[in-house]
Symmetry: none
Subunit: 203 residues, 4 copies
DNA sequence: GATGAATGAGTATTCATTCAT
DNA sequence: CATGAATGAATACTCATTCAT
């Protein structure tokens, strides 16, 4: 009888998070009212606060979820993969698939914007970011060991610049309506490949 | 003798824009109240509206100024520069100098965020963005003609990805406190150089 | 058990309307602040807007209520009353009773003033006005058929001039503090009686 | 040299009054800003206050002018006119001519509305009203003496009800767009004639 | 748990009026 | 006299959050 609660609790939280994520993607975090979220989640205004202490707590949960997903992605990569460079490039393909989802990319920008204002969001995003960079750096180290990339490159710094590219893609989506992730995905592979390639040989 | 206004008018607008830009950079556009801007600009609450019709109009003016500066930068580049590739890389250095200014980079992110909500800001930012990409593409075309870069690359698409990198740098500044533009500037040069370089030769 | 709202909702709206009507009568529509209305209705500033979307919506509701009351009054008159002329004159007595209520007459003037600015109010007032004139015209037609009034008169035009007199009474109340509706009621009867009377015979 | 000032002063005041009257008629007293009046009068915002101490002072001046005009109208009527009844009815025609002027009738309503809020306006309007009723009462007394009207009527009370009719006409103009003063003028004559007529004879 | 009515702090903007030039 | 920049008080409305039922 008691164990049902935590389950329902989680189900409701998911329901709210999904409704809110949708609202945030469409109208932005600040422009979205709690009333809108409640309506989208099919619940009463007061009830929301049984599940989240505040509107901020919702975007904090979204940011944390994002972080966990990223960490899980890299945790799932085989540490002894025979082709670590391809693992990096595959990750970029995955990123571009997400980027192609208008709703996801909008939400990502909203979360990024909240980073500047909400330290809790900032912490989660930073953690997810660190997980990604660490994961990439580890793969790059392996790639270097296997002779797939320029051994003179600093894996951590390269991971940082891959992150720059990923962030840049999401910014582009907001600023340049002509930027199509599906179409540009091969180019991202190429930019990164050339960047990592050993000098003296072509892409 | 009577109509000395235009000058004073412009001076006041500058004063307000600078005060507002500072507030926006510190606290964000939405969190900044008009009262704060007035206080920072040393004027009474009502007086602000003699110079700007609304709070939105201020950030619109900032966005437009930014656009004009960008356009002016590229308009000033010698069309027959003997080293167009270096012109591109020099521009990246300039970008990194701006990026190193905390206040500037914060403001840039606020403007970018407003892009999604305020179409006037969106238009200015898009215009500045187009000016930058067109300017870069022109330089890349010259660089290709002079054999400085891989002739197989599409100048417009390369300009687009340089824009991705620049946007990414500004995003990084918000997300990763360990990202130091001064220190990373050479890396940006290197990433772009390698990306543009003719295959078969090193950076 | 849950949705007992409609009743409470209506009760609250009434409460607000009455508080607002009182404020409008005392201080005028524009001079009345929403805070005053809330205070008079015994509720918090924000709560008012659960019941009315705006301050304008309140006076619109008042105007509509007025219109419905007028329409209801005439709908309730027996279409086969044996003395239609007396029905007209009785209506004038009722009008004068309302006019004698300082609060009511002030409010009526405020509503009339809003007619010029707020089209929603204008529509309701026009509808109430039309209902009154149609009702009066119908009675005058019956009165003519029964030989109670001059058969040469145009019922619609007579109704219009009775409306002129009624409007005039309310204007008088504002302009001439010496105008006492209770005392003047018989005179209104007399003016209208003489106006409608068959020529060749006295009032 | 000094005597020119009072003249210019008066000219400027007229100019302002006319510009303001036009604005008030079009947009209403409260909705009209002093800036609009200044623009319409072709002067700077500050300058207005050299001629009128406040916005209220302008409508007060308009109300006073109205009062003086009314008083002058009745002062000009020959005290020994052979046909005082016709003088009354002619006055009604004049009223209807004014009523037909949309701008004038709107302004009259604005002034009337201010009566409730501004005691200075109230005093002027009351004075004008008294002048009109006194003038009418005097004429009615003469008409009674000459056997033109029912001798049993109280001249003051009749004047009061004529005022009711006039006020009513102006109200009608605001409420009923189908009320055409030019077309209704004969009816006003008829209503008043019947009202004043000796019993036992037709209109 | 659920409801939705109630709260009340927070804010951009307007505009009559003043006053230095 | 004229200008128009400056003032600052005043106000409708929003919305996250609480709480009685």
């Amino acid at each position: 009888m008691r164990k049902v609660d935590p389950e329902r609790q989680q189900a409701k939280r998911r329901q709210i998070i999904e409704a809110a994520a949708d609202c945030f993607a469409r109208r932005g975090f600040h422009a979205t009212t709690t009333a809108e979220i409640c309506a989208a989640a099919g619940m009463s205004p007061g009830n929301l606060f049984h599940y989240f202490a505040s509107k901020n707590a919702i975007i904090e949960a979204i940011a944390e979820e994002e972080w966990r997903d990223t960490a899980a992605y890299f945790a799932a990569i085989d540490r002894d993969t025979p082709d670590p460079l391809e693992a990096v490039l595959s990750f970029l393909d995955v990123v571009m698939v997400f980027a192609a989802d208008r709703s996801y990319s909008r939400l990502a920008l909203e979360v990024a914007a909240e980073t500047l204002r909400n330290p809790v969001v900032g912490t989660s995003v930073a953690a997810g970011d660190a997980a990604m960079r660490d994961g990439l750096a580890a793969l790059l180290r392996q790639a270097a060991a296997r002779g797939q990339i320029d051994p003179d490159l600093d894996p951590a710094q390269c991971a940082k610049w891959i992150a720059v590219l990923i962030d840049g893609v999401f910014s582009r989506l907001a600023l340049d309506t002509g930027f199509d992730p599906v179409h540009e995905a091969p180019m991202l592979r190429r930019v990164v490949s050339r960047f990592l390639a050993k000098p003296g040989r072509g892409a």
